[in-house]
């Protein structure tokens, strides 16, 4: 018989109070501010914005503080918050060619218009812990240099001039960009929807899948055509005005992956492409995204689907860490009744086996 039980209210209240205490930590230390998190843990803020699929640095910092630095919890908080807001509309597509570039590198061309701009990178650091950061020592102002009046040209445009690379990726005129926050996921899906899912996908998951393609599970021979990080203008059409106005700028990371080529009887050999675009500064995520985007184009490009990274349903269904954590973590919630049922079943099965064994023995004894 199932008897409904209640309880735990006081325990839950006290647990949350204890959580608030542990979140605050040692009271003799100053509390960390939202501005400090935005300024000094900026890449954590960027990751939360990217995977929550909501660009707002102050709210992402608040979520990080509230979650004690648990990134997936912070992403969950921000996702939950976004559901409380109405949507005013969609932006004009951002123009990454007009980006205010803060970092731009290419692994395919040494000398290219705009140059190799390293920006604030961890690359070429020695990965040695820096004892000077144990204390609050003054930090030098950055070096400056006159800027050449040179457009930081997109690498894909350089290759496109020679016709050696496929186009950016077009759909027919009447194609409406899908929105997975409005429609349920259906497979197979178009590339625009896949990119939306990947842009909010878990960095670790996409990194592992991208890595798997490099190790031979759906190899597609990638080169980083370009990674660029910087600010782009976000514009929206205002109905009252009848034209688009700027809302301000956001920082994004773009990766153009240039991949193995293939020709056919109709088309000459051409490089193919994978694309990554992510909120904030996160080239690891943008690169992983472009590797996985390219892998998921296997069917479109007539390649054999043999590896996990090429399996659209597998990748997209498991890329969202809020969904994943919800289903994994629900296992810790009370399953008392389910388990009692299973326990009773196992006991009965064992009793049956025991009985049949004893029955056999009895019969043998009888025969002897």
């Amino acid at each position: 018989m199932y008897v409904a039980v209640k309880g735990g209210e006081a325990a839950i209240n006290n647990a949350h109070r204890l959580l608030a205490d542990r979140r605050r930590g040692d009271r003799s230390l100053p509390s960390v501010t939202i501005e400090q998190i935005v300024e000094q843990l900026g890449l954590a803020v960027d990751r939360v914005m990217a995977e929550a699929s909501l660009y707002d640095r102050a709210l992402a910092a608040l979520a990080i503080r509230q979650s004690r630095g648990d990134m997936i919890e912070a992403i969950f908080l921000l996702r939950a918050y976004r559901t409380t807001l109405p949507r005013f509309g969609s932006s004009v597509p951002v123009d990454t060619a007009a980006m205010k570039v803060e970092r731009r590198i290419s692994a395919t061309y040494k000398d290219l218009p705009g140059g190799q701009l390293l920006g604030p990178t961890f690359d070429y650091t020695h990965r040695l812990l820096d004892p000077s950061l144990l204390t609050d020592e003054p930090v030098d102002e950055p070096e400056r240099r006159d800027t050449p009046q040179e457009h930081v040209m997109r690498v894909s445009d350089i290759l496109a001039h020679e016709g050696l690379i496929e186009d950016d990726g077009e759909f027919s005129e009447d194609h409406q960009a899908g929105d997975l926050t409005r429609e349920p996921l259906e497979f197979p899906m178009s590339r625009d929807l896949r990119l939306q899912a990947l842009a909010r996908g878990d960095e670790g998951f996409l990194l592992a899948l991208g890595y798997s393609t490099q190790r031979g599970y759906g190899r597609n021979h990638p080169f980083v055509g370009e990674v660029r990080i910087g600010e782009v203008e976000v514009e929206i059409e205002v109905a009252e005005l009848g034209f688009a106005v700027s809302l301000g700028r956001i920082r994004i990371t773009e990766c153009q992956m240039v991949n193995q080529f293939k020709g056919s009887s109709k088309a000459p050999p051409q490089f193919t492409r994978g694309y990554g675009l992510v909120f904030g500064q996160s080239e690891r995520k943008a690169m992983s995204m472009s590797l996985v985007d390219r892998a998921l184009r296997a069917e479109e490009l007539g390649e054999d689907i043999t590896a996990p990274a090429q399996d659209e349903e597998f990748v997209i269904s498991h890329s969202d860490n809020v969904q994943a954590t919800g289903f994994v973590e629900h296992l810790k919630l009370p399953h008392y009744v389910d388990f009692q049922a299973e326990l009773a079943l196992v006991r009965r099965m064992r009793a049956d086996i025991e009985a049949s064994r004893n029955g056999g023995k009895d019969m043998r004894e009888a025969a002897e």
Binding site: V94, Q196, A199, E240
Partner: protein, 157 residues
Amino acid sequence: MDLAKQIEPNAEIAARRRAAGLLARATTDELHAAWDKLPAKPEVKPVRGPETGLVMVRGRIGGGGAPFNLGEATVTRATVLLVSGTAGHAQALGTAKANVRLAAIFDALWQEDGTRDFVEATLLGPIEARVAAEDKQKAEETAATRVDFFTMVRGDD
């Protein structure tokens, strides 16, 4: 057709776009400083907001291809009406409602002949200068990290 009449609306739209873009970048301090300097504070009726919502930021596949939905951003907008009948709109990324309300008032004042110069001189001009200075500094800091390749010349040529 009169060419001037064709050009004029475009110039007016470009001017309004510039003003709206600068107002979206205004800081709390800049807005308050301009408000404090305003000789006659206008009587303002709220029409809509200030209210916070979302804008779906779109990208393009491959950078220049078909649009796709990248993710949302918070945005706050407001519409106000001056007693004179001029409506002001403002919208900016983020959740700063008080700022956006003030920006909408300045948008209305900017449209009126009597106050446009004031708004230009005390608010839009300083914002434009600040943004340009910030951009220049960032660009120069980035330029300092540009790689200058050089070729090692062998001695036995």
